[in-house]
Symmetry: C2
Subunit: 333 residues, 2 copies
């Protein structure tokens, strides 16, 4: 794959600073867990599966720095509250650390598991993309968000290898523009046809019959299929439903959280209002104006046509049964 969000390199974690894309492709290398925590908090590293893997390697760095396992886990867990994967990634290394096992091997195994699951998601979802479908996505659920392949974008990549020629409507995804900055960048890298649109324009194209289906990633999926994802996802789900357009959610098992019966118990991060009131350091609203900035929203399961998982496309109704075989609750959050 051309695009990788992060990798292990000579005892350091190397990662792309996603805040600088698409203008600049800058790789940071660090041997400090505090840097990893800061990178997750500031969204230099983002996307639920990617921050899970970054946190796993952060635990490896913490041990090499002579830190304690539980304090390091708490530091990393405090960075962001919504993504389930963060806590799964931390646990994947904390347990072997306490048991005296090889932590680098544990982090590597966790990374491999995520990458393999994303590839499997691609294989599960690729049949949706036969021919020349026009598909809409929100935020970035590509390789940058998942280390490699992506979740929502993985089926596009697999389908393209098989000769499909999809067209992607890319919601720009304000306030942080993960669509126009990151998804468009990944698609441009791989010469996949796409058009960026303002978030408010998606409904217009759905109503005009120019969207065949919607596919997004997720940050946490409750037992009943309610799920949290980047703010704006709920709007797309309602609009797809209103226009009888299928709506898919692609995620690895680390995103599913059986400890949460419904979406009502998923914590939603609210971020600084400056993300809305400024753009690239420039104030775009009056000095006296305030903003609200929920980073995520929760979409009820009834709007989901299917979850694209490593083991196929599951309707919300069968989710709970399948999940029992795969998941155990993480300890944090």
């Amino acid at each position: 794959m051309a695009v990788r969000a992060l990798w292990w390199e000579s005892g350091k974690l190397a990662y792309i600073d996603q805040r600088l894309l698409p203008g600049r492709l800058h790789v940071v290398r660090t041997s400090h867990v505090a840097d990893v925590a800061a990178a997750i908090r500031t969204l230099a590293v983002r996307g639920a599966p990617t921050i899970g893997v970054a946190a796993a390697y952060g635990m490896v760095l913490a041990k090499a720095e002579g830190r304690r396992a539980d304090a390091s886990a708490r530091l990393l867990a405090s960075t962001r509250p919504t993504a389930r994967d963060l806590f799964v990634g931390i646990e994947a290394v904390r347990r072997p650390w306490i048991a005296g096992e090889d932590v680098l091997e544990a982090a590597g195994a966790y990374r491999e598991r995520i990458v393999e699951e994303c590839h499997a998601i691609g294989i599960s979802g690729a049949p949706l993309f036969r021919g020349k479908p026009r598909v809409l996505t929100h935020c970035n659920a590509g390789a940058l968000a998942t280390v490699e392949w992506g979740t929502a974008l993985a089926p596009i990549r697999v389908a393209k290898q098989r000769g499909a020629r999809p067209f992607v409507w890319v919601d720009e995804t304000r306030p942080l523009l993960q669509g126009s900055r990151l998804t468009a960048w990944e698609l441009a890298q791989e010469h996949i046809a796409h058009a960026v649109i303002a978030d408010g324009a998606a409904g217009h194209f759905m109503r005009a019959g120019e969207v065949d289906f919607v596919i997004v990633g997720a940050d946490r999926i409750a037992r009943n299929g309610d799920f949290a994802n980047k703010v704006g996802t709920y709007e797309k789900a309602v609009l797809a439903n209103e226009n009888r357009i299928p709506f898919y959610v692609a995620a690895p098992w680390s995103t599913f959280d059986i400890s949460k019966p419904t979406g009502a118990s998923i914590p939603v991060e609210e971020r600084a209002e400056e993300e809305v009131l400024e753009l690239a350091g420039t104030r775009i609203a009056p000095r006296r104006s305030r903003a609200r900035n929920p980073a995520f929203d929760v979409t009820p399961a009834r709007y989901v046509t299917g979850f694209v998982t490593p083991e196929g496309i599951l309707p919300p109704a069968t989710l709970a049964k399948v999940l029992k075989g795969h998941l155990r609750p993480a300890t944090a959050a």
Copy 2:
């Protein structure tokens, strides 16, 4: 009123360059119709009722420059295709011009009519705002868009004079940020409580029960109540309907177009893709990425609770009957 979009001053049209707000309050004075056309095309002057009045005064300037009536009308009519008011404003001066009547008086009368209708809209809609309602609006339908008072914002102003304390959710309204730049500026000027949100966050707050109703303006309203307004309006209407939140559209008679039986025949302007791919002159998407940029969308009448007009709040079902007493088709577009 503190805020006025434009006014006549010593033989010139004076207008606020709305592209520079909220950073800079810059008034342009011109005696050339070509400048007025350019100001409308570039959105220095915008908002359906405001561009109607600007075009009326543009016709006055054209006559003073020794130009011909029909060519001047065509020049102004070619600037933007969607807003009905543009053509009404042009006709309001073209006819007296051809009849040898006083064009400045005709433009002034048109301006007065619009301002009075907007004030009447405020009186019609003010009862909706009793107490401390939390209301969501999209784009700018304030004084800047209508010369004075506003359409969607007029009832807020009247209600505030009567002691109401509304709170306004302001959709930032990408790509051109008329919400965060203009609506927030008007509300800040008049100390009305508000919070700017990303366009994608409106659904989150609706679902959370934090929006009591939605009110927007319109650029053109068809005979059956389908209406065109800033892109993103359709999304808000569907989400309000899904969450059983009332949805109101405020407009003067100049925005209603009985020559259009439904929204399907309203022309929708598509603007340059750079408006989506850049922000304040900075490229935010990859060089290779393209964009689509419809400036408006069309919302079906079935999502509208009521039209807030100078003569009260009308449900879509009674619209056609009431309109017959008020309207005749304009000649252009």
